[in-house]
């Protein structure tokens, strides 16, 4: 297993390196930087190039770049907040996005698990069908559709919640964004857990524990739920991706000052350093989550923990 974890870590490192290279090349090849402004004279442009170090050999610049990125120095904003360090702009926002994302994951996992377990246990009843339909809606209707409708109905028409998010004291204004974000998580976990649990409940070891004379509730809590919960870890990766994309739109809709909203703004005004910094943060977060998930899975499942090669 140690070998497996080592391999996973080295892949993560290579991935981060490749992402950095990709981002750097993009920066180099980008058509139309803000300095291509036609009002600038050649001289002025050279001054800017020198000022930002854009006249050095490419390899040197890449290593310098890598160093800076890994240290968290993402340069300065060109257009959004002229000359403000990007890391400063991000600093205020990372927390907002992370806390929303975390709340959405936790809420989604909790509700999704409950729904999944109930519909597996009530398999074939109307309750199961109803929950399955809700879950299908959850995975097939985009989170921003939920966000728009909940904003329209609960904030605009019914006025139960504020329309805009209040970053300093989220309170009620955080409810709709978190729910919209967690919709997909709820539905995915519920669907996954339901089918996982049905498979486990049909297995021979469940039959054996029934034959041991355990009460049905004990069979389910001791053998059923434990065994079907372990593989849920594997869907956390895709869920995090979805949360990232979800946060872009949900932050736009609720005017939340988070990374996602900034990302969208930066793209529309071509603020490269900001876009690249956020892309980098997203990628690194994602790489770390995938790594953590794989390692966690191999630790909690004895079938993998004790096999020699790690998961196939």
């Amino acid at each position: 297993m140690v070998r497996y974890i080592g391999q996973r870590i080295s892949i993560a490192v290579v991935t981060v390196f490749l992402i950095l290279l990709l981002l750097f090349l993009m920066l180099e090849l980008m058509p139309g930087t803000p300095f291509n402004d036609e009002r600038l004279t050649d001289q002025q442009r050279d001054v800017i190039m020198e000022k930002y170090g854009l006249d050095r050999p490419i390899l040197e610049r890449f290593f310098k770049y890598m160093q800076l990125m890994l240290k968290g120095d993402f340069g300065i904003s060109y257009t959004l907040n002229k000359n403000m360090p990007v890391s400063f702009m991000l600093g205020q926002r990372v927390g907002v996005t992370m806390s929303l994302g975390l709340q959405a994951v936790l809420l989604g996992l909790a509700i999704g698990m409950v729904l999944g377990i109930i519909s597996a246990l009530k398999h074939g009843t109307w309750l199961d069908s109803a929950m399955s339909m809700i879950a299908v809606a959850g995975v097939s209707v985009p989170s921003y559709v939920f966000a728009l409708f909940s904003l329209y109905v609960f904030a605009f028409l019914l006025r139960w919640f504020p329309i805009r998010y209040n970053p300093s004291a989220p309170g009620l204004s955080g409810v709709l964004p978190v729910i919209s974000l967690s919709m997909f998580t709820i539905a995915t976990v519920a669907r996954f857990l339901r089918s996982e649990m049905l498979e486990v409940l049909g297995s021979e070891y469940i039959l054996l524990s029934r034959a041991k004379g355990l009460r049905e509730s004990a069979v389910i809590s001791r053998h059923g739920i434990r065994n079907s919960l372990i593989p849920v870890v594997t869907v956390v990766g895709p869920l995090v991706v979805n949360l990232m994309t979800g946060s872009l739109v949900v932050e736009k809709i609720f005017a939340i000052p988070g990374l996602g909203g900034l990302f969208v703004q930066a793209i529309t005004v071509n603020d490269y350093n900001v876009v690249i910094a956020i892309s980098f943060i997203y990628s690194v977060m994602f790489v770390l989550v995938m790594l953590a998930v794989d390692i966690l899975y191999s630790v909690i499942d004895p079938r993998i923990r004790l096999s020699k090669g790690g998961p196939a």
Binding site: I11, H123, V145, L148, Y282, S283
Partner: protein
């Protein structure tokens, strides 16, 4: 002695066996028939299939039949709510009197007009074409790239497998949104960059499925037999592996459709996708969002079409999977 009785205890004739055989084989069904019967009893899947067909027809026909163009509108017709000929008499979809105010008694915009006076009916169906293109693209990428990489990886194993698997792991660790953003920077936002992004990342899931299937099949007698008999690799892959995994690949590729449709609409919504005046459901939702507190219909209509389309594809995919693999259903 009763002759009837004697016959009763005589050996049965061939005729008797044949009759019994026939009656016992009634109700025995083949696999495909079984699949079809299971699918037919799944009402949700059938309705979804109908919805997909209906939406497809509308998106192809509606823009052609309308006198309006999706990319040009009459600015004096701006922000007109939906109005339908018959329904307006019972007070729904009656255009809220705006048409009369402007002296347009004989004009009907089924889905209303946007802030530039463009017909949302035509724009919605035109935009649906983009979503259906995404659906088609997702399936093609799954079938061609996903299936071939998966089969090659599983069949040859060894170094090829190792390299492909590492590539997959790395690609998997880069969020799609980052790839799209970078593509958009290089290529400008539009259908091309989205298509490329789907090509780069869309095949991964399917290749895993195809690989697992091939690994399972590879060890079975009939494949081993043709290998020992000296069939070429290409022949084994095309004639023996492909037919065996094709069904499952088609069904699983249905599941990547909603995801692809979502990717496009989502990118359009945040401004990285198609750009107006081009129409896609995402573009429409994004535009409608700007004035959705005033003219809700501008965002509600494309959102509904998008939701129904994705929902239908998911339910249909679920239904197909259950029909082919009933083990989950009948327990």
């Amino acid at each position: 002695m009763n002759p009837q009785k004697a016959e009763l205890f005589g050996f049965a004739s061939e005729e008797r066996f044949r009759l019994a055989d026939q009656s016992s084989s009634i109700g025995e069904r083949g696999f495909i028939q079984d699949v079809w019967i299971r699918l037919k009893t799944n009402r949700a899947a059938l309705i979804s299939f109908g919805m997909v067909i209906l939406i497809l027809l509308f998106s192809l026909v509606a823009p052609l039949l309308s006198q309006h163009r999706y990319d040009r509108g009459m600015i004096e017709h701006q922000s007109l709510p939906p109005r339908w000929p018959v329904l307006e008499r019972i007070g729904v979809l009656d255009g809220e009197g705006k048409y009369q105010e402007m002296g347009l008694e004989d004009t009907y915009y089924f889905f209303g007009t946007d802030t530039l006076g463009r017909d949302i009916w035509v724009r919605t169906w035109k935009g649906t074409q983009v979503s259906l293109y995404m659906a088609f693209l997702a399936v093609v990428v799954d079938m061609i790239l996903g299936m071939s990489f998966g089969m090659i990886s599983g069949y040859y194993g060894g170094v090829i497998d190792l390299i492909l698997q590492r590539i997959i792991e790395i690609l998997n660790s880069i969020p799609t949104i980052v790839i799209v953003t970078l593509l958009v920077f290089v290529l400008k936002p539009g259908i091309l960059s989205i298509t490329l992004a789907i090509i780069i990342k869309g095949w991964i899931g399917m290749s895993k499925i195809a690989r697992a299937q091939v690994l399972k099949l590879k060890e079975q007698e009939f494949i081993l037999a043709s290998r020992t008999l000296g069939s070429s690799d290409a022949k084994i892959i095309l004639h023996q592996l492909l037919p065996n995994i094709f069904g499952q690949v088609i069904i699983m590729s249905m599941f990547s459709i909603p995801n692809a449709i979502f990717t496009e609409s989502f990118l359009a919504f945040i401004g990285l996708g198609l750009q107006p005046p081009l129409a896609s459901l995402g573009v429409l939702i994004s535009e409608g969002f700007k004035s959705f507190l005033v003219s809700g219909y501008m965002v509600v209509i494309p959102t509904l079409v998008l939701a129904v389309l994705m929902f239908s594809f998911t339910v249909l995919a679920d239904g197909l999977r259950d029909a082919f693999d009933p083990k989950m259903k009948e327990m």
